[in-house]
Amino acid sequence: MGILETLFPPGLFSASFMQNAWIAGTAVAVLSACVGFFVVLRGASFAAHAVPRASFAGAAGAVLAGGDTLVGLAIFSVLSSLGIAALSSRRDQGQTTALVLMAALGLGSLFLTLGGAYAPEVYALLFGQIVGISQGDVLGILALLLLTLLGTALLYRPLLWTSVAPDVAEARGVPRRRMEILFLLLLALAATAAVPVVGALLSFSLMVGPAAAAAYFGRSPGRSLAIAVLIGVFSIWFSLIFAYDTGLPVGFFVAAVTAVFYGLGRLWAWLWEIERGLQRAA
């Protein structure tokens, strides 16, 4: 403890709001990386971008109705996921995703105006309020962590198969459409947990950033998933420490750190390609 206190600013680990932040942040990093792994495999970045943003409307609705933010987020992220699944054809998910996002954001702005939410609340929803996480939120986020971990573990192989070779998986009896719906529901769970912590605008970065970077470092699915989790957890820890120290927003650090990892991943792949070329030449 003595060493920690000299290395890190006081209260970083001991203040109760910081303890909530550490637990919630770590949980969100882990579940975002797990779901993000499949987001990257399926090329579903736009959906991963849209669902957290659409769930923002749910939080705004919760403010209006005087309900729990997490419940509002859950309802709207599940509804938007199911909306994307129900409306999209096999070819073009982008268009319907955009329409669902548009509808949700429209509702969100209506709820905000009617509910008379004041600026800091809106700001917290958009950019996250990790140091404002309550004990109740922590429990909710831990429950969501458990659900997404169970879900990804259970669906791991069929989800992997429908992501990388959908035609073969379908021919062998894996229900492609149902897997798509289940994937979008996992995405909804991840969004619900991530929005209060890193905000509707940046929860995308924790989902796609670590997994996209990990694809360059880990060449097998298992290793890539593990590296995604490590990068995600490192990003959120790093961000918490520096946000606490500097007073700058957590979301900024998360986005910056994951972007750096992504850049390193690209560099790694580039070097690896050169080495392969040299090997072939030799």
Binding site: Y156, P158, V164, A171, V174, Y216, S220, R276
Partner: protein, 275 residues
């Protein structure tokens, strides 16, 4: 006695299509297709674009229900026979940075439809290595699939199909986008799958020529109808003219077969001479 014989014959056929008719959007895509394929037989399904090849494959895979007729695989309904059929899809081009090695792709063919994840194990690894060796892919077993050539990928897809020990493998245009040497390699490999491993092969392609050395029978599709037999029985001017509904000529040049159709310049087509 005759019913017993019929019973025995039915069990003997790996794939049996009888009186198959499929209509899509009010148009007859397949009409009166009858086909019985034996174990270890190599059947080439040949036809131009829109002849009904893909629909036929989907029917055999149980993804399209026929309007009339029956599809039976090893005497069973298609839906109960999914584990007996391996499938090699058309156009498989993974992202270059996909975190999936050759062995991971093949492993999905073994247990990709099961819940949960695999904890590995020596026996599973042994089966994957074995399947990789069937298609001579040991050399790139640990390479990410996004960086492999078309021919290497095609071999992996065959291994992915074979690892579940199917009775039959369906291949959809496996030679498209391959250079000539890779085409020959894949044809040779698939020929060995049929004739040495005894796995029935149904291979769909628009160009019959690469298959001539290994194909036992040909199912020639045109206008939703089919002619079935050996190449010499089917690929003849009179048979194909009747199938196409207009005059076509069959020309043999340097061991290659060209089907040239039409009598005026407008309908002059050469349905099988590309590639």
């Amino acid at each position: 006695m005759s019913s017993l014989n019929a019973e025995l014959e039915r069990e003997d056929a790996v794939l049996e299509l009888s009186g198959l008719r499929v209509r899509l959007g009010g148009r007859a895509v397949l009409q009166d297709i009858d086909l019985r394929v034996r174990p270890g037989e190599f059947v080439g399904v040949i036809g131009a674009n829109g002849a009904g090849k893909t629909t036929l494959l989907k029917v055999i895979l149980g993804l399209v229900r026929p309007d009339e007729g029956q599809v039976r695989i090893a005497g069973r309904d298609v839906r109960d026979a999914r584990s007996l059929v391996g499938y090699v899809p058309q156009s498989f081009s993974p992202d270059p940075d996909l975190p999936l090695r050759a062995r991971d792709l093949v492993a999905l063919g073994l247990d990709g439809a099961r819940w949960g994840f695999s904890l590995g194990g020596r026996q599973r690894r042994g089966r994957i290595d074995e399947a990789l060796s069937w298609v001579d892919a040991e050399r790139y077993a640990d390479q990410p699939i996004g960086r492999l050539s078309g021919g290497e990928l095609q071999r992996l897809l065959v291994a992915q199909a074979l690892i579940a020990q199917p009775r039959m493998v369906l291949l959809d245009e496996p030679l498209a986008n391959l250079d000539l040497r890779s085409q020959d390699d894949v044809v040779d490999l698939v020929g060995r799958v049929a004739h040495e491993r005894g796995v029935t092969v149904v291979l769909v392609t628009h160009d019959m020529n690469p298959l001539l050395p290994v194909m036992d029978r040909i199912l020639y599709l045109a206008r939703g109808q089919a002619a079935l037999g050996t190449v010499d029985e089917v690929v003849r001017g009179d048979v194909l003219s009747q199938l196409y509904g207009h005059h076509v000529d069959v020309v043999r040049v340097h061991g290659r077969i060209l089907v040239v159709g039409g009598t005026d310049s407008e309908s002059l087509t050469c349905s099988t001479c590309d590639g």
